[in-house]
Each structure stands twice: as C-alpha cells, then as structure tokens.
Symmetry: D2
Subunit: 279 residues, 4 copies
Amino acid sequence: MYNLLKGKRGIIFGALDDMSIAWKVAEKAYDEGAIFTLSNTPTAIRFGQIDELGKKTKAEVIAADATSVKDLENVFKRSMEVLGGKIDFVLHSIGMSLNVRKKRVYSDLDYNFLDKTLDISAISFHKMLQVAYKLDAISEWGSVVALSYVAAQRTLYGYNDMADAKALLESIARSFGYIYGREKKIRVNTISQSPTMTTAGSGIKDLTGLMDFTERMSPLGNADAEECANYCMVMFSDLTKKVTMQNLFHDGGFSNMGMSMKAMSQYNKSLESDASLGD
Amino acid sequence: MYNLLKGKRGIIFGALDDMSIAWKVAEKAYDEGAIFTLSNTPTAIRFGQIDELGKKTKAEVIAADATSVKDLENVFKRSMEVLGGKIDFVLHSIGMSLNVRKKRVYSDLDYNFLDKTLDISAISFHKMLQVAYKLDAISEWGSVVALSYVAAQRTLYGYNDMADAKALLESIARSFGYIYGREKKIRVNTISQSPTMTTAGSGIKDLTGLMDFTERMSPLGNADAEECANYCMVMFSDLTKKVTMQNLFHDGGFSNMGMSMKAMSQYNKSLESDASLGD
Amino acid sequence: MYNLLKGKRGIIFGALDDMSIAWKVAEKAYDEGAIFTLSNTPTAIRFGQIDELGKKTKAEVIAADATSVKDLENVFKRSMEVLGGKIDFVLHSIGMSLNVRKKRVYSDLDYNFLDKTLDISAISFHKMLQVAYKLDAISEWGSVVALSYVAAQRTLYGYNDMADAKALLESIARSFGYIYGREKKIRVNTISQSPTMTTAGSGIKDLTGLMDFTERMSPLGNADAEECANYCMVMFSDLTKKVTMQNLFHDGGFSNMGMSMKAMSQYNKSLESDASLGD
Amino acid sequence: MYNLLKGKRGIIFGALDDMSIAWKVAEKAYDEGAIFTLSNTPTAIRFGQIDELGKKTKAEVIAADATSVKDLENVFKRSMEVLGGKIDFVLHSIGMSLNVRKKRVYSDLDYNFLDKTLDISAISFHKMLQVAYKLDAISEWGSVVALSYVAAQRTLYGYNDMADAKALLESIARSFGYIYGREKKIRVNTISQSPTMTTAGSGIKDLTGLMDFTERMSPLGNADAEECANYCMVMFSDLTKKVTMQNLFHDGGFSNMGMSMKAMSQYNKSLESDASLGD
C-alpha cells in the first residue's frame, strides 16, 4: 500500500457483502490511510454484512435511503462530524431495477418501476451531489466516483432499463462535474466496470455466458472487484486532480474490442456444432 | 420533391408553430407524398397554430399528453384508423424542463420538476415505442426518429437538466431500437440538431451568443429547422433501412470541431478588448 | 427511384466487380439521374469488370493510381471535361493492405507495407480532396464520402493495419471536412459499413464467422452492398447538406450493441458443446 | 510521494527541456522510486538539456531516432542491460510536423512531410511496441503510455496534419494493446492532454488564444505538464492493471464540455465589442 489516501475523509455508498465493489473499495481505502463512513439502506444493512466491514475498517455505518434528500443530508452532516471535517472522496455504487427483478422485459416496462430504477440508480447521484454542494460538504479538489457499465453506450440483452439508468448516471456526472469543477474544483467521474459477479449483478440474465464472452473478448480479461477498488484509489488520490466529467472504462480492454481471436474461436465452435447437427 | 415518402403513413409529435422543427417535418412529409396525423398537448394545440398546419397538410390533429400511455394508445389507434393502416414513420419532437422555465439552476434542481423533465422529454419516447409495439402499430421497416441535442454528450452552460433528458432519450433509442429491430425490423434513431431558434428553444440561457459561437465553429454553419426536416425525410425513407440505434449529428460539423478559425478569431477580439481595457 | 441525383455529376472510385460497393453505388447513382465517371487502377480495370459497368451506366472509365497526385489531377480534369462542369459528389472506396495479403501479423508488420496500406487506403483520400480543392473541381454544397469500417474504433482480430488506415481515413475526413466546409460549403463524411463479402473483403481472416456473429448481433442484420449504395444516395443528395465531418454507421445497429439475444444464445451453444466434451 | 513505482524499470522517450511533459514524468518517476533510461534524438540531446535531467534522475541517456527500428532495438537492449531486467513502463512523448513548421496548411500539404509527420508522431509508436514485443523486453503487466491530444477526435484550426497523426497514434494504441494484452498482459493507453505550453507546442497557431479558451471552457482549467506526469504515474503503477486500449482525457473536463459560462461570457464580450464598433 502507498498511503495514497492518507489524511483523506470519505463516504462509501453501496457496500453489501464481500462480493460488493464498494466493500473492496472500503478495504483498500482503509489500507491506503483514509477514514470514512459507510452508507446503505436499512434493509441492506440488516441483510448484508456491512456492520462487519464497519468494524474492520473503523467506519461508522449510516443508514440512508439514497433517494431521500433528507437522509443524504444526514449522511453528509454526520460524516463530517464523525470524521472531523469536510469530505475528500465519495463513492456511489448503487443500482437496482424492479423491472429486472420482476422480469418485466424492456418492451413491457412498468413505468412506476422505471421511475424507481432511475431514482435509485441515477437521480440518487444528483441528490448526493446537490446535497453535498449545498452543505459545502466536499473539500476543494475532492473526488466523486460513481460506478457505471458499458450498457450506457451499448445495448446488452437483458440489461433492460438499467442501461438507461447508467446513461442518465453518466450524464449527471458530466453535468454536475461541470458545476462542481467550476465552483469548487471538485471532480466527478464514472468508472465503467467489467461485468462483475456481485450479489446485485447476479440478477442480470445470462451473466455467466456474458462473462465468459467478455473474458475472452478483453485482452486482459475481465476486471474484478478488487482491481476496480484499486482504480478507485487512484481516482480518489491527488494524482488525478485534473480528470473530470469522464467515463473511465475499467474492463481489460473490452470497450474498444470488436472481435478477439479467443472469442471468435469460441464462437466458431458453436457454428461447427450447428453444422455437425445439420442446423 | 422526390416522392420519398409516397404511400407512407406517419405520426408527427410536437409541432407548435411555424418555427417548430416538427412543423417543417410535416410540410416536407406532405410534399414527399406521405399522409400523417399530428399530435400535441391540448394546451399546445390551443395556443399554437397546429390546426392551420393540419389543414395545410390534410392531417388530423390528435390531442395527447405524451406522458400518458392511454393518450398515446389513442393516438396510434386513431392514426391507423384515419390513415388506413399501420404507421411507417414517427417523429418525437418533445422536450420541456420546468427547472429551466422556473430558473432553478442545475445545483438547485427541484426533483419533482426533474421527474417531469425526464417524463416529458425522454420517457415519453419509451411510452410511445412500447404502446406502438404492443399495438403492433408500426409496419415492418418503419422508422422512428426523436430529436436530440449535443448536450447529451457535452455539457453546455444553462442547458440544465435537459442535457440529462437528452442522454436518457438517446439511450432509450438504443435500447428500444435493439428490441424493435430484432422483432419487427423497425429502426429507431435520434437526430442531434444544431441549436435552433424555436419557440421552445428560446428559453435556453444565452442562446443568441451560443448560436453565434456554433455558427462560427461549424464549417457549414448551424443547420436550420428546414434542413433538419430534410434529414428526417431521408431517415423516414426506404434508403436508410439499415441505420438504427444511431445518434446522427445534423449540425454543420459542430460536434467534431475543437476550434475553428472563425470562432477563434472572434474569441480573440474579446481578449484584445480586455487588453485594451487593462483587464 | 426518386431522381435524387438528377443533374448531378460525380466520380466513383473503387468499383471492381459486381460485388463491390462502388459498383452498386454506380448503378444506383445512374438510376437516380446522375452522370459520372469511374476510376480504378489499371490493374483493377484489366482484371475487374469495370468496363462493363461503364457501358451500363454510360460512364467513362479513367485509369488512375489513387496515390498519385498527377493521376488524380487527371481524373478530376477529365471528369469535368466529360461531364461538362464541376463535380457534385465523389465516392472513395479504396483500401488494401499488403500486410494482410502477405499474412504479416500486426506484431510483425513490414513497415514498407504499412506505408503502402496508409497511402492507398487513407492518404489517397487526402490527395483526392487536396487535388479537387486546388482545381476548384467540386461544386458548392458538393458531397464527398469515403467508406470505412468499425475497426477504426474497435479492434477486430485479423483486421490488422487496415484498422489504423481506417482511423486515419476518418480523421482526414474530419480535418479536410472542416476546411472544405468553411471554404466551399462542401461536406465530407465516412460511412462505416457492416462487414461485406466483397472480393476485397474476402482477404480478412475468419470473415465468415465474423459475419455470422455481426449478423446475429445487429438487430437488423448486416447491411449489404446495395443498402450501402442507398445510403450513399442520400448522402450525395441535397437532403443532407448540413451533415459533415461525421462517421455514419450503416450496420444494422451493430456499432451500438454490447450483446444480443441471438449472438449470446449462439455463443452459449459453444459453451455447452465444451461442457459436453469435458473441456 | 508514494513509492508507486518502487522497483520498476522504465524508458522515457521525448524529454527535451524542463517544459517537456516527458521531463516532468522523469522527475516524478524518480521520486516514485523507479529507475529508467531516457531517449531522444541526437539533435534534441545536443540542443536540449536532457543530460542535466539524466544526472538529476540517475538515468542513462540513449540517443535514438524513434523512426529507426535499429535504434529502438538498441534503446530496449541497452535499457534492459543498464536497468538489470525487463522494462515495466514506457512513455512515448514524440510528435513533429514539418507541414506545421514550414507553414504548409492542411489543404496544401507536402506529402513527404506528411509521411514524416506520421512516421515520427505515430508509426514510431508501433515500431517501439513491435521492437519491444519481438525482444520480449516488457514485463508482464507492464504499462505503455503515449501522449495524445483531443485533435484526434475534434478538428482544431491550425493543428494541421498532427490531428491525423494523433488519430493514427490512438488507433495503434488500441490495435497493439489488443495483441500485447492478449499475449503478455501488457497494457497500452494514450493520455489526451490539455494544450500545454511546451517548446514543441509553441509551433501551433494561435496557441495563446486557444489556451485561454480551453482554460475558461474546462471546469478545472487546463491540466499542466506536472499534473500530466502525475497521471502517468498512476498509469504506470500496479493500480491500473486492467485499463488498456483507452484514450484517457486529462484536460480539466474540456473534452466533455460544449460551452461553459466563463467561455461564453468572454466570447460575448467580443460580440458586444463588434456591436459597439458597428460591425
């Protein structure tokens, strides 16, 4: 470890269990010398293992519904109190779609569910930023990161309305990144991560097949949760002060691949198998 | 005129007055041999001149709130009835932000207004597509276009939450474009138009200065409403059947400019003027 | 047919045989009312069937090496003479890699071959534009199109140095599009076409497997040469006057897909087949 | 300093004087615990202050023409010898256009100069990678970075054929990044830096005006050479192992801005000044 976050104060939203990216971020941030609070919904706190993480990383756990401005105000106020000053970094790792959960396909969306998807997965990020901005809760040259996915740019079967939520999330990062940069020198970015086998991710249709495909397509293979946490460390550090409004792909190269040798040769097997079956 | 839309049936959402892009689209579509209906909100119909357009283009005007699934169902059903068959093309030219209107800046958004911005300007497009899909109201190889703006990719001062709405709109075009293409061979695209001095556009802050800048930045100058209507004609025609899920810039080249000679030389005047003032 | 190019004069570079996209463009342009000349290398003229195309479309065939400024000057001068005025549209459909042909992989490029790849496939486009510009050979509001491929943005196994050539080609389209737009109101764009089984394309490794994959990934399937020619018609017409410096994907939606149901389910077969083989 | 590069061996191409980005990279890399060699052309070594940098950072200076495969072989061999093992990081900070220097505008390029621009500024990067690949000179999980500029995506008046060179450079990073990732787990990225007042950059037309504009457009202002060096540190470190084939904007947010309040208000002054002059 490098002491990259020595003396820095943070808030990490969205750790559930030790498969969560936010969990790994907390562990790494602790190792890198940061102090921080953890936040998730009361339900997630009850059913997840976040209290354990809190103990391990000496972090207070603050229950909050990230769609509630009032709850978010409490998180920022309480965090500044507990940590003894303004916040230097924030992680937003929050996403959920009832349409996905309830198996409503994209051509049969429930619009109340869609509102919730957008509110929880994207607008919550605006609320977080606006609350922090109004409370003047983030230090100059602070860094805010939200986790995203390539579905924001490219349609993936089964990813459903989460694709739209991620597109909205990335747009909010740009829009608020402009304001926060101009006014307070605070940077806002999204990290677009490889498909990751988290407890949340396991709802996505065909994730095993997809992860096999992206593993073979990506020259470096899929990035895992721990590697993503490493990337968060550099984005929270003082070494990336002029990077803002960006969507940063952390995916082993997947986003810029059209077809790899490995994926093509695997795919070709399916064609041979069709041929041998007379299909 | 070329008879590009001869025998085609359409629905055009969003014409208000003769400055509207949708208005020009209706005129051109009429000239190109299409029959169609027009739709807008009851209020817009009352205060705009859409009835006049209806007479001129022999189009029935159907009042509808584009955020209401029920109203949209009526538009598609009634249109098929009036026009005598399935729909071949649809234009979505709808956008509105109460945050912009009420001068709530992006770091002080009213979240009820934001919900409305997204619902009116973006989710209405999903509703339109889902309604059409469920009614099987669009013909094979039909074409759906929504109007967008470069703010979906790049932040513009004062464009506010409309930027996020346009990002969401473009994502919906991709997401539904996949489904509709796969299932019905129907294409869905967005056209990202130059800033245009419409009645709606006139709410955007500093639009005159911005249009001067984009005019000088764009090698061909800003595209106007009539030229946009021409581009819609080709997107509705049978000559673009395999173009889908795209965001097509119609902007005189602005989107791919970093700095032009004309804009730089104009900008430099401001520096000289500062210098002469001792600023 | 719509008379979209009535009264227009053009030059079409790169037709070889009736599988060529340029060949289809010539046929369509003829049908749409244009007059034009055809150009290709002496070797291509000898071994292809371009003379036959010339007869069919009443077009003079002008031999030229597109890397030779002198030859290009002759093409533009002779074309203006034969067609009786300035040129309204130009198609650049030229590409060749000796590294691909001689099976030099990308980590073992021959740099003389690379120079040739870039000169033939990309710099020739600059030469064409510069020659036309100096001769003032293209009419105001003329349209220039070069054919490209998604490899310019995303790496495809086996596409080799042609990917770099296409990236360079698209950059030249932007760079010269700025100049030509500013000075002469002439637009310059690239069309990024689906993989197409032309005589030239057949050198690409694994093209059959790749085309199967892209066919299943693209909601509308791969675009074929004839459909590409249709798209060229609209780009040459007066209906797209303000579109410039763009790279326009004509690919059935492929470019904005991350994973489709059809491609995933085909891919999954290969995994099942591995599983049943104990792999 | 964080010891981010402790135990790592590198090669830094392109330091000229203390305004060079490569110069700052060397200083930072030294502070972060790396050992490395420096390389530049014999002429640059003679006229620059690179020997001084070598002393300061305990780095051997190796003269090489980066367009010469033989010279590059020598750099890699000698570096491994001097540093005692395979290389962990490489910086390519090389670019030059004779067309810019000799004031040949983009519509009047000298094609021999263009060949040189591409060879020096882009193909040299392929040569570097291919040489390293063949010598197996880079360690697993090594990191290669080349410096680029937004002109690769967006045309800037006066940037001339360097725009095309940067587009080609970024394509080479993707293409070789795929191979090197797949075969050796080595990542290849480009950093797209704000306009920077280096000795090399000072040839670009109107750089002062442009830098004023980008400073006002970028919410965090332009990134300077030292900040760019910081970003290189994280890209060379073990914390970004799964980032590859990316073009990373390091520009204070410029790349995702359409118009800022500050730039608009400055621009508007020029309009007022025109108005007061009756222009």
